[in-house]
């Protein structure tokens, strides 16, 4: 299932406990074919979360519908927990209810890789159209290109890591890859007793000053800096087959080719990083050549 942004015409009723009028708002962000994604909070008012709800489908038999919802929701949750345990950068699972059909995930800050690329290429086109003097700072197109290669590298590493723990994403597109900015230093301080609290307050002021200084001096490379986080595991499966992994890469390659033709040449860097960081990746890359020849639908041939 690919989640696509769509105008919302029908109001959906969420199951309890997401029905209280005095609770934090539920902000519908994405509507997919199978699920609705809301931004809200969970556990504390300061912990943002992505609430993914799979509404019942009226056209299915009720019993079958519940079984399918449960199976798919749990498959997604299990893959996410497993990935997280094994060190793949994915959002954590904060809560779930497979009977009513919701799963709450850690909210991932930042933009999708698709948005990042859109931003870069939009700016570039814009800049080309205008006079060359419009260039921002020292960073020329080559500088951006270099940063983009760095981003591609991170994508390749992340996908390699995912495959190395035996998971295939199933819908690997640039919209399902997030670039999450690096977290700033923790601002909380342990204020144990009165004396320490006073000390901490002083330290806090110092921190504040430091943060202000940093805020005034934005790093030019911040834009493309951060961690690549994989999202939307609704179609993921746990597999050992190189075929499935190659198809993951193929789907991603096609996604790059179709939404960012200008970025197509960068994709090789994804594969380079993938092959270098994932030991068994070489056989997958060989398999990718075969998949390219015939497309991803194995069964449709022959």
């Amino acid at each position: 299932m690919t989640l696509t942004t769509a105008a919302v015409t029908t109001a959906h009723t969420l199951p309890p406990p997401f029905t209280s009028p005095t609770s934090p708002p539920l902000d519908l962000r994405v509507q997919g074919a199978e699920s609705l994604l809301y931004k809200t909070t969970l556990l504390t008012p300061s912990l943002p979360c992505a609430l993914k709800y799979r509404p019942p489908k009226a056209y299915r038999h009720a019993t079958l519908d519940r079984r399918l919802t449960k199976a798919r929701l749990l498959a997604e949750a299990r893959v996410l927990v497993r990935c997280r345990r094994d060190g793949v950068t994915v959002p954590g699972v904060l809560g779930a209810d497979w009977e009513t059909g919701w799963i709450a995930l850690e909210w991932v800050e930042g933009r999708t890789v698709r948005e990042v690329l859109d931003g870069v290429y939009h700016v570039r086109e814009h800049r080309d159209a205008q006079s060359a003097e419009e260039k921002e700072g020292k960073e020329g197109i080559e500088g951006i290109e270099k940063q983009l290669l760095g981003l591609m590298r991170k994508v390749g590493v992340a996908v390699g890591k995912l495959h190395s723990v035996g998971v295939c994403h199933g819908d690997l597109t640039t919209s399902n890859l997030m670039l999450r900015p690096r977290k700033k230093k923790r601002t909380t301080h342990p204020g144990h007793d009165a004396a320490e609290a006073a000390e901490a307050a002083e330290a806090d002021i110092a921190m504040e000053a430091l943060r202000d200084a940093q805020a005034q001096e934005p790093e030019p490379e911040q834009e493309l800096d951060g961690d690549v986080v994989l999202i939307d595991f609704g179609l993921a499966n746990q597999t050992v087959q190189d075929e499935d992994k190659a198809v993951d890469l193929y789907v991603l390659e096609r996604a790059f080719g179709s939404t960012h033709p200008q970025a197509e040449h960068l994709f090789q860097e994804v594969l380079n990083a993938y092959g270098e960081n994932y030991k068994a990746g070489q056989t997958v890359l060989r398999k990718l050549d075969q998949v390219r020849m015939r497309g991803r639908k194995k069964s449709m041939l022959g």
């Binding site: 909070t41 969970l42 504390t44 749990l74 299990r78 345990r85 060190g87 793949v88 699972v93 799963i103």
Partner: protein, 204 residues
Amino acid sequence: MVIQTIYLPHLPANPIHIFLFENVKNAAFLREQLMAGNMEFEYTFLDSTMILSLHHVLAAMFRAVNDLKHNRIRTKNVHSEAVFCLSPNNNIAESFRRFGLSGATESMLAIKVGGLDPTTPLDQEAEKVKRHILASVDGSPLDSLDRIDDFADLDKIRKVYKLQKGSKSNRTGGQSAQVNTGNGDEEREEMEAVILGLMALRGA
């Protein structure tokens, strides 16, 4: 303020009253009250060495209250259910043993779910709970919950949830060059993310 009342988002009708104690001397007595089913002592009592963070305990409270509302709790009441909700598996007795009080408990959390009895006004209820818990626990109540993290015994917690030490360090090879791998905070965050997932999936 020794009583911390937390309103879980989406569950505004049930304020969660939390107390953190150290130097607890009568954990064995409190445990006996639970075992005897003394209604006066219907609390979620937790050994704070088994609690990683505030999120950790709140996730258990959230699931327990939500399961109560859906009429599917597996233990006696919502307070015992919260202890069970910390567990990564379906063994109820084991979860009480691991997360509940033992004779050796020195620091503990006492938690009461409010709003269960609609006839008692919430503020009166909070006062009553506070009075009772301070009279019942022989220990030093702490002013804030900030120190929950400090009591956590990471090795014990890792063992119960079957986590490997420093699982963070093998994270996405190339990226880790810039990531601060030796950072304790970061390891705790990773542990928390996995543990909440394991708790959410219990019984699936």
